[in-house]
Every structure is written in structure tokens, then in C-alpha cells.
């Protein structure tokens, strides 16, 4: 299976990507690693700390790489992670439909 990449919006030369910020609800995490493995942009890493259940939750290693694709959220079996769109001054805001999940 291929993970769908963001499509280039027509008429804009430089690809504009949405920026996302990831929220991790650590105590729900069971450390399965799906989000880390299947993040298209390798944003996440496994942390060393233990959560209350004794698992290692992920942490955001490359925050700037997140494009708010929402795959970590869908792929998390424990509903412990999701991303929200953040607007960054450095980049142009992404077209609305491309960030809509």
C-alpha cells in the first residue's frame, strides 16, 4: 500500500503544505509504534519515559515536518494521538480542502 502524498495544488509552483501540530495523550498510549512507523514524514520517535501503564509513548522529534495529514490519528488504535492545523507565518496558509481531513 502506498501512502498518498499531498497533491500539488494547481497553479502554485512551490508546493504548499499544511503545517500540523501533534497532540499526544500519553496515558492512552500503549506503545505499539504504528504512528512512528507509518508517519509519512518521520515526525515521531519513541521516547524513553514510561507512562502510567508502563509503556513508552512517542514524542515529536521533527515538529516542523508535520503536514497535518492525519494518518497518525487514524492509525492509532488507542485514540491517543491527533494533529491539528497550525498556521505558520513563514509559510503560506494551505488551501482549505487540502487540510480538511
Amino acid at each position: 500500500m502506498r501512502i498518498r502524498n499531498r497533491e500539488k495544488p494547481f497553479g502554485i509552483e512551490k508546493p504548499v503544505t499544511a503545517r500540523g501540530q501533534i497532540v499526544i495523550i500519553e496515558d492512552r498510549c500503549k506503545g505499539c509504534g504504528f504512528c512512528i512507523e507509518y508517519c509519512p514524514n518521520d515526525v515521531l520517535r519513541l521516547s524513553d519515559k514510561y507512562n502510567s501503564k508502563g509503556y513508552h509513548p512517542p514524542y515529536v522529534a521533527h515538529e516542523e515536518e508535520c503536514v497535518d495529514c492525519g494518518f497518525c490519528q487514524m492509525n492509532c488504535p488507542d485514540f491517543a494521538i491527533f494533529s491539528v492545523e497550525v498556521e505558520s507565518g513563514e509559510r503560506e496558509p494551505a488551501p482549505a480542502e487540502s487540510v480538511k481531513r
Binding site: G33, Y38, P77
Partner: protein
């Protein structure tokens, strides 16, 4: 973790669809049932259907607990009888959208008869069958879907029974919509559920899901991530494949896709027609 601190007030996007007060759920790390629920919730969100009119019915088993986590009217019934229970709900109030989410053992083994007959009657239900090749809640017994020669606790020397082919059974019994995806095909699965949901009649979506605890451990297949990786490498999308070819062999490639999409008169239509005819006579 600073990310949490900054936007902790953000709600999880599934909050309205799931009973977050019950999370963390009971499923093991690396289990794919959570993914299936996630896809289902996504489908519900896409549908924009009145959630008050959606009913989720589950049987018993790991997947049987799904009903408890979805924030609609939901029923956790007895082992194998989810479809029968759902039939009652659908006929009692035909305006409802009734969805059965349960496991392979529940739907195909003990509930096989209800599965066949609900498909034959073409009762308007959507059945999501999460197939993890094993009875997980009771501790890893051989299921009718266990491939040859997988090891389980009740087939300690390898399974030798031919596994059931869920899409084929569904097709033969008369289901109008049959699809299969793995727990990794999240978006396609969600789309498929949407399609099944909109199809009047008995629709079946099979979800191949890793059981990281019992199935993979005894067969030394690694953890949930390894099994997901296996699906990643070995699943082939072939829409419209003949259901004869959909048997799943041990650690062989898995054909996924949408296999059946047809129309047959649904039960409630036939019943109404019959009642009308009866009255005329």
C-alpha cells in the same frame, strides 16, 4: 511534553463519536481493532448521518467490545447473536441504520447461521467483521479463519482445518456488498464502510487485523508492528476478484478490495410487499 501543554484543550477529533470516558480501551498494544474503530468513526463522520439513528451491535470477544466505545445507541449482546439481535432492531424500527461490528469467531463460527440467513434474507445491515485469525479474548484458540498450519492453543501442533473464506460465504449466502481490507488500509476501509452503509441490503466488510498477543506470539510473527508491516508488503488490491480466490494462506499474500456490489430486494421491502398483497387478497 510541551506539545501537550500548548494545546491540551484541543479535543480529540473523535470525541463526539467515541466514549472517551472509557478510553484506554481493553485491546492490547499492537492490536488492529482500534484501527478498525478509528476507520469506522471516520466513516461515520464522513457520512454526516444522524447519529441518533445509528445503532451499533456487537457480540462477544475482543471485537465484541467495540459497541461500548462508540457513542451511539449501542448493544453488547451474547456470543454470536449480534446479527440476530440487530435483525430484531432493524425490523422493529426500519428507519434505523444498524451496524454489526464483531469478530470472526463471533460472526462466522458460532454466528455463522445467522450470518448466512441474514444474508439470504438480505436484511438491511452493515456487518464489519474484524478478522484476526484467532479467538483472542479467550486466550488464543483456533478459529474457523485460522490459516493452515498456524499454531494456536487448541491447535498446539498446527492448525489443519481449512480456513473459512468470509467474502465467499457472504457472497454465496447473498450479501449485496462484500469488501475486504487490512487494518492498515485505513482510508480505503473508511470509504468502503461508507459505501456499505449506503447500500440497502446486507453488506459485509472484512477487516484483517493483527492480533499481536496470541496469534503472532505463538507463531513467532513479532509484534503488531511487524504484522502491520507484513500487510503493508503483502496485500494486493484487486477489486472485483472472484471470491473463489480469496482464501488466506498462512503468511501469504492477502487480496483486498471490493469484491461484490450488486442489488437484491431487501427483506423489509419483500415483507411490506407481501403484507400489501395479503391485504389486497
Amino acid at each position: 511534553m510541551e506539545t501537550i501543554n500548548t494545546i491540551q484543550e484541543q479535543k480529540h477529533p473523535m470525541d463526539d463519536l467515541l466514549r472517551m470516558d472509557r478510553i484506554p480501551h481493553i485491546w492490547c498494544p499492537g492490536c488492529g481493532i482500534g484501527n478498525a474503530v478509528s476507520a469506522f468513526a471516520e466513516a461515520l463522520r464522513k457520512l454526516e448521518y444522524d447519529l441518533d439513528k445509528v445503532v451499533v451491535v456487537s457480540g462477544i470477544g475482543c471485537t465484541g467490545r467495540v459497541a461500548g466505545y462508540i457513542k451511539t445507541d449501542s448493544f453488547h449482546t451474547t456470543h454470536g447473536r449480534a446479527i440476530a439481535f440487530a435483525t430484531g432492531i432493524k425490523l422493529g424500527n426500519p428507519d434505523l441504520k444498524v451496524i454489526v461490528i464483531s469478530g470472526d469467531g463471533d460472526l462466522v463460527s458460532i454466528g455463522g447461521n445467522h450470518f448466512v440467513h441474514a444474508a439470504r434474507r438480505n436484511i438491511d445491515l452493515t456487518v464489519i467483521c474484524v478478522n484476526n485469525f484467532i479467538y483472542a479474548m479467550t486466550g488464543g484458540q483456533v478459529a474457523p479463519t485460522t490459516p493452515i498450519p498456524a499454531y494456536t492453543t487448541t491447535s498446539p501442533f498446527g492448525n489443519f482445518e481449512a480456513p473459512a473464506n468470509v467474502p465467499q460465504l457472504a457472497e454465496a449466502a447473498g450479501a449485496v456488498y462484500v469488501a475486504r481490507w487490512t487494518a492498515l488500509h485505513m482510508r480505503r476501509l473508511a470509504d468502503s464502510i461508507v459505501e456499505a452503509f449506503n447500500r440497502p441490503g446486507f453488506s459485509v466488510v472484512e477487516v484483517i487485523s493483527p492480533c499481536a498477543m496470541y496469534y503472532s506470539r505463538i507463531n513467532k510473527l513479532g509484534d503488531g508492528l511487524d504484522m502491520m508491516q507484513f500487510y503493508y508488503n503483502n496485500s494486493i488490491i484487486r477489486h472485483g476478484e472472484s471470491t473463489d480466490n480469496l482464501n488466506i494462506d498462512y503468511q501469504k499474500e492477502i487480496i483486498v478490495g471490493k469484491f461484490v456490489d450488486r442489488e437484491r430486494p431487501a427483506f423489509s421491502e419483500s415483507l411490506n410487499e407481501w403484507l400489501r398483497k395479503d391485504q389486497v387478497e
